[in-house]
């Protein structure tokens, strides 16, 4: 029924016996959950636990991919668990590894990988194990594969690259005269160009011209800021997060522009949350939307007439937009034997093989076979922003940085307060500087002497 492991068996057995005595007949025949609860036995030998953080459109696609894998490998039982996105996910992942019951396979953001690896929370992947499943660097987007390494050691297999992009409603933009003859958005250049485009949309909608999430979503605020600030050539952290290299003038310029759009010009709402954003764009009350490409399914589902373009180059420097990657990891687990590792990698490979389904969610597949396939090239609007994946620059390294991290929260909350008109750019910079300094000055709790 269940497999018990030699380590600590006798104590568990003793406690198990005690517990069984206490519950009496109740436990009879109830099987493995109770055994797991009382005796701490591991999961079924042929069952793989797979953690991810996808809901909505991505969630549906991931369910489809997992189902396809199940159909192709009927002997492997995959128990897929969806957890809440963001900080709680990574906290949970760490707690699960420390708690001896990590999932067999888990999704991570590549921006989070260095901390996980230095915290000894993720298992290094041996090259020959990977090669046995056809997982070699030449078959992936180079930037993403490289980001899957920490200290030269491969820890993660990338699934995609997902940039921050600009959505546009074709109906609103057409009326605003922003489309060319083929129905594509005419290039928008510079901050003036964007202001003009937003104003044109605002005239059509009679309200706002565009929207970006402001409330209760620091990650989106950070992505918007990173896109603007990165285009000015700004950087936030250096030396593995121990030094703050924020350029106040550039940051203030980026923040002032974000604030100008919401507070001063009222071209974008200054008080709006995720569901409000969806409603505005889906109902045509705005023409432009700045968000992750993963929102594509939301608007396809809502039958919104829209397309997607890269965020315009607003400040004339080297092009930059926020991007991150989802990747698959094997969380560290002392109980994992060779067979289980092999099955886990089979699942990893199986998910990659189905990543055309994943691309429906807007993501650019990292697995080149899928990325270069005719089927993906035909996929619209995904094919519009593939170059953004190849040029991806990830969140700066640092133990408190990465997707859903303190770093993103600190940055995002400050940006949100500026967009909402609660803080002036200079005050926001002071706030985030001070909060970042708290982290930068501390010795990193990961890395160094591992356990």
């Amino acid at each position: 029924m269940t497999v018990s492991y030699p380590q600590g068996t006798s104590r568990r057995a003793a406690l198990g016996a005690l517990g069984l005595a206490g519950v009496g007949a109740l436990t009879a025949g109830c099987g493995s959950p109770i055994a797991a609860g009382i005796a701490g036995t591991g999961p079924n030998a042929t069952s793989l636990t797979y953690w991810n953080l996808f809901t909505g459109g991505d969630g549906i696609n991931m369910v489809a991919m997992t189902d396809r894998f199940r159909a192709a490998h009927p002997s492997v039982h995959v128990d897929a668990v969806t957890l809440a996105w963001g900080t709680p996910y990574y906290t949970k992942l760490a707690l699960a590894v420390i708690g001896d019951r990590p999932p067999d396979v888990a999704i991570t953001h590549l921006s989070r990988l260095p901390t996980l690896a230095e915290g000894n929370l993720v298992e290094p992947l041996r090259a020959d194990d990977l090669a046995a499943h056809g997982l070699t660097g030449d078959r992936f987007t180079a930037a993403a594969w490289r980001k899957g390494q920490v200290g030269g050691q491969q820890y993660a297999v990338p699934l995609d690259t997902h940039p921050f992009v600009m959505f546009y409603r074709t109906d609103v933009c057409k009326k605003a005269g922003l489309l060319d003859a083929t129905g594509k958005l005419k290039p928008i250049e510079g901050t003036d160009g964007l202001v003009a485009a937003l104003s044109a949309c605002a005239k059509v909608t009679g309200g706002y011209g565009g929207v970006v999430n402001v409330n209760a979503d620091p990650a989106t605020c950070w992505r918007w800021f990173d896109t603007l600030y990165g285009q000015l050539g700004g950087q936030v952290l250096a030396d593995n997060g121990t030094r703050i290299v924020l350029d106040d003038a550039k940051a203030e310029k980026a923040l002032s522009f974000a604030r100008e759009l919401t507070v001063q010009r009222k071209l974008m709402p200054s008080n709006i949350d995720g569901s409000g954003v969806t409603q505005l764009f889906a109902s045509g009350k705005v023409g432009l939307l700045f968000d992750g490409e993963w929102q594509i399914p939301t608007y396809q589902g809502a039958k919104t007439p829209f397309s997607v373009a890269p965020v315009p180059n607003l400040f004339g420097g080297t092009y930059h937009c926020f991007a991150d990657s989802h990747a698959l990891i094997l969380p560290r687990n002392g109980r994992r034997d060779a067979r289980r590792r092999d099955e886990s990698l089979t699942l990893v490979r199986g998910l990659l093989d189905n990543s055309l389904v994943w691309a429906k969610g807007g993501h650019i597949p990292a697995f080149r076979e899928v990325q270069d396939s005719a089927a993906f090239r035909k996929m619209q609007p995904q094919a519009q922003y593939v170059p953004a994946a190849k040029a991806a620059i990830y969140d700066p390294a640092g133990w408190y940085s990465g997707a859903g991290s303190d770093f993103e929260n600190i940055m995002g909350f400050a940006v949100s307060a500026v967009e909402a008109g609660q803080l002036h750019p200079a005050a926001a910079i002071a706030q985030l500087r001070q909060k970042l300094a708290d982290y930068a000055s501390k010795p990193a709790p990961v890395g160094g002497t591992g356990s």
Partner: protein
């Protein structure tokens, strides 16, 4: 049940009845310790032990992803916490939550109890209605209120707009988020104080009312001159219990706002959770826990002193 301790310790233990000495002192000593063993083993292993270990941890720079205590840090963790703006602002949020919740949870509970006590039929129904939320798991309460607090289209927003009032973005607005959390807390936990007041009302002799009615006192005057003063003991109890319970807030805030927006609602327990588990800094988390423990201890000491004086 371990979550809040209510019982004031003073005089909690009545003297031991004089048992026959026949068995002898040694027998009694063996029996006493024997009966206490299961409790003491668990108590020392899982409460006192960790408390002592936590104190030790707070002097080291430990990490949850490294084994052992980590390098010795002396008082560094304490210095860092005491000079950290984040620590103090989270302390303030805990205090703010206490300030926002204690008065309504005491006054409204008193009002509800006096109203319920006044009616003759259907008391059970009101007791049920006001107390039932208290037994709901906090996650369920959080889910329901998150749904009601949805901006623009949620139930509360639709009520306010029906009245022609602008609806705030409840949980997303730093000016409103804590108030929204406090509102939910009042709804959820008032039943406990309400029941304590109902019990207090039972102890007020009816004759007092009858006598004052003969003297021509109106019902409002009776409430103000008889009920409220005679309930003062209960009020002290309820207030102190409420302050201590509110100072321990974590669940509601974690579920509704996760400490946001812009950290404006993060209470000290969530700060400890964040630094200790999300940032892996167990030593620092333990130090922050100790500082927080001192605050709780100080409030408990006040409670202790008050109940001593009144006893």
């Amino acid at each position: 049940m371990t979550s809040t301790v209510a019982a004031p310790p003073a005089g909690a233990l009545p003297g031991v009845k004089d048992e026959p000495r026949a068995a002898g002192a040694i027998g009694q000593t063996r029996a006493g310790w024997g009966l206490l063993t299961p409790f003491l083993v668990l108590y020392l292993a899982f409460l006192i032990g960790p408390a002592v270990y936590g104190l030790v941890m707070s002097f080291f720079d430990g990490s949850s992803v490294r084994s052992g205590l980590g390098p010795f840090a002396g008082l560094d963790n304490y210095t860092e916490a005491l000079t950290s703006g984040d620590f103090w602002s989270s302390m303030w949020h805990t205090v703010l939550f206490t300030i926002l919740t204690t008065p309504p949870l005491v006054i409204v509970a008193l009002l509800l109890a006096m109203l319920t006590d006044r009616i003759r039929r259907g008391k059970w129904f009101f007791r049920l209605v006001f107390f039932a939320p208290y037994v709901m798991p906090v996650t369920c309460v959080g889910l329901v209120f998150t749904w009601m607090y949805v901006p623009q289209t949620g139930l509360f927003a639709s009520w306010l707009s029906a009245l022609g009032l602008p609806a705030p973005a409840w949980l997303a607005d730093p000016n409103w988020a804590m108030i929204a959390v406090a509102l939910m807390t009042v709804w959820w936990t008032i039943g406990f104080n309400f029941v304590l007041y109902l019990a207090g009302l039972q102890d007020i002799p009816r004759e007092l009312y009858e006598a004052s009615a003969v003297d021509g006192a109106g019902p409002g005057a009776q409430w103000w001159r008889i009920t409220v003063p005679l309930l003062s003991r209960t009020t002290v109890l309820v207030t102190m219990l409420q302050i201590i319970a509110s100072l321990k807030v974590f669940d509601q805030i974690y579920l509704l706002t996760a400490g946001g927006p812009n950290y404006s609602t993060r209470p000290v327990i969530e700060y400890i959770y964040d630094v200790g588990f999300t940032d892996f800094r167990t030593g620092y988390g333990a130090a922050a826990s100790m500082l927080y423990f001192v605050v709780i201890l100080a409030v408990s000491a006040v409670w202790f002193a008050i109940s001593r004086r009144r006893a």
